[in-house]
Subunit: 340 residues, 2 copies
Amino acid sequence: MRIRSMRLEASGALLASLVVALLLIVGGAVTATGAQEDLPSWNDTAAKARIMDFVKATTTAGGEGFVAAEDRIAVFDNDGTLWSEQPLYNQLAFVFDRIKALAPEHPEWKETEPFKSVLAGDLGGVFKGGAKGVVDLAMTTHAGMTTDEFSKIVADWFASARHPQTGKPYDQMTYLPMRELLDYLRANGFKTYIVSGGGVEFMRPMTGKMYGIPPEQVVGSTITTEFAVVDDVPVLRRLPKIDFVDDGPGKPAGINKFIGRRPIFVAGNSDGDYEMLRWVTAKGPSFAMIVHHTDAEREVAYDRKSEIGKLDKALDEAERRNWLVVDMKADWRQVFAFDK
Amino acid sequence: MRIRSMRLEASGALLASLVVALLLIVGGAVTATGAQEDLPSWNDTAAKARIMDFVKATTTAGGEGFVAAEDRIAVFDNDGTLWSEQPLYNQLAFVFDRIKALAPEHPEWKETEPFKSVLAGDLGGVFKGGAKGVVDLAMTTHAGMTTDEFSKIVADWFASARHPQTGKPYDQMTYLPMRELLDYLRANGFKTYIVSGGGVEFMRPMTGKMYGIPPEQVVGSTITTEFAVVDDVPVLRRLPKIDFVDDGPGKPAGINKFIGRRPIFVAGNSDGDYEMLRWVTAKGPSFAMIVHHTDAEREVAYDRKSEIGKLDKALDEAERRNWLVVDMKADWRQVFAFDK
């Protein structure tokens, strides 16, 4: 069965009334089967209330804060906002694992930095080389193959790698309250996007399963690809060349480039999200939230002056700019789905 | 009224059965009000049949060619495929009009090429300077303002400019059969994208109205933008620097970067679409079509060896690669909506 093509001008009004009827039926059905509470892993604090008030205002037709469904764009940082970024960005764990996997083909790495430090498990040594060393590692592990090959490498890594502290697969290192927030926004007509400094092709194979976000709604850093025909088969080759860095001031630029309109909801957790928070809240009805890592028991208490996920400027300005600061310890009933 | 957030695991099965019920109701309603014919501006030739056969196969659950709705991505070139590109790419008409509008602030342009030729209406003189001259014109007219300012400039131009031959606003220069094809694909669960060599921010203000395609489903060439805070207001400034050229081999790269998965349907009209046609049809169930400009009466007969919209290589290989060649003269009942 398929919906037959129809001219909207002919049947638009009828269709609209049928859609309204469906919504009533669905609303009734949910009540009948026992409506689930919205955001069940959030405590009943002011944070949850502020989020729900905003969603209620944007979805109340005729209200002052109403926003048409097609303009309900919500953007989420990934590392530290949707999943853990401790003790290291997960994409760096991928990089180190790939270097180890590729090492047998590169005996020279035993004597060459930053590879030598990676193989010795010496993180300090890796970072001593500064940004250049990390970029070298990233290009070595992210380029030189086709896009299809890289996608498979990523999926295979997720299937086998385990988080060093929890022992869980990385795709389970997501914050349950944030996944509920994504679901809640989508149920209210929002289109949810990731806008991350991470590599877009590192995220896309997994974001559907992890967050219900399809590949085309993932904005991230990119490397240059090159079209080529090999044995009459067209491929895209990943070149060792950074195309775009979707971090800091790059985030509003990335939103403009990939999405092409201004979101009304934004969530971040670090100063790398500062410009995106500013951009989203500069105009019209909008909502910004910061995930503040305060929970030393259930996760890691960090972010002020932190190496990874530093949150200073955005936190300093949050109150003045009316950005919600979510206190993980106080506002979240549960952090990970695998927690008891 | 809004759909209440619900846990899919709790009510998924019930919801699915309600959706099925709605589809039955909608199907019935369309029949009751008189079902419109699909693709009414297409003649009943093999071209129309091939398109409809493909759509039927991809949407028939359990069939060999079935494709899940989320993978039904369709990409369309814009110039010469969705709207006219004759006598000049419409974006070039925009460039020339902008140069004329800005000329009073630039008295030096009277003596400086390529501006001098533009102001004199001497197209030959403009192109004598080669690609560099055209890029200079494009950067002069597309950069130096904020993204919001540029969006308004574009919308204003569309409101006032008229096509030199038809006298119609440019947003009416779309091909009616192609707009019907977009509607038809969407009614069958396809997500429709533009993938054009044109500037993404030249297209986005208009694609919703012209094609029912939202900004986030427009892939195109981009210039670099820079985040800045002016008087505490965040803006994105458009810099005179090309970021990405979404043409030729850039089209599959653009699809990969912006959409992140391989479409199953592609439409183009020139050799600038060749690599995109190859990329889309390299794997799995897929369909490619070429709009072949054969109609000297209702539009312009061109494309073989043409300056604009040259179609040689793709046409030569079309039969061998099973790409549908749409003969505008034979296959389209009507070209523009304003035609009688």
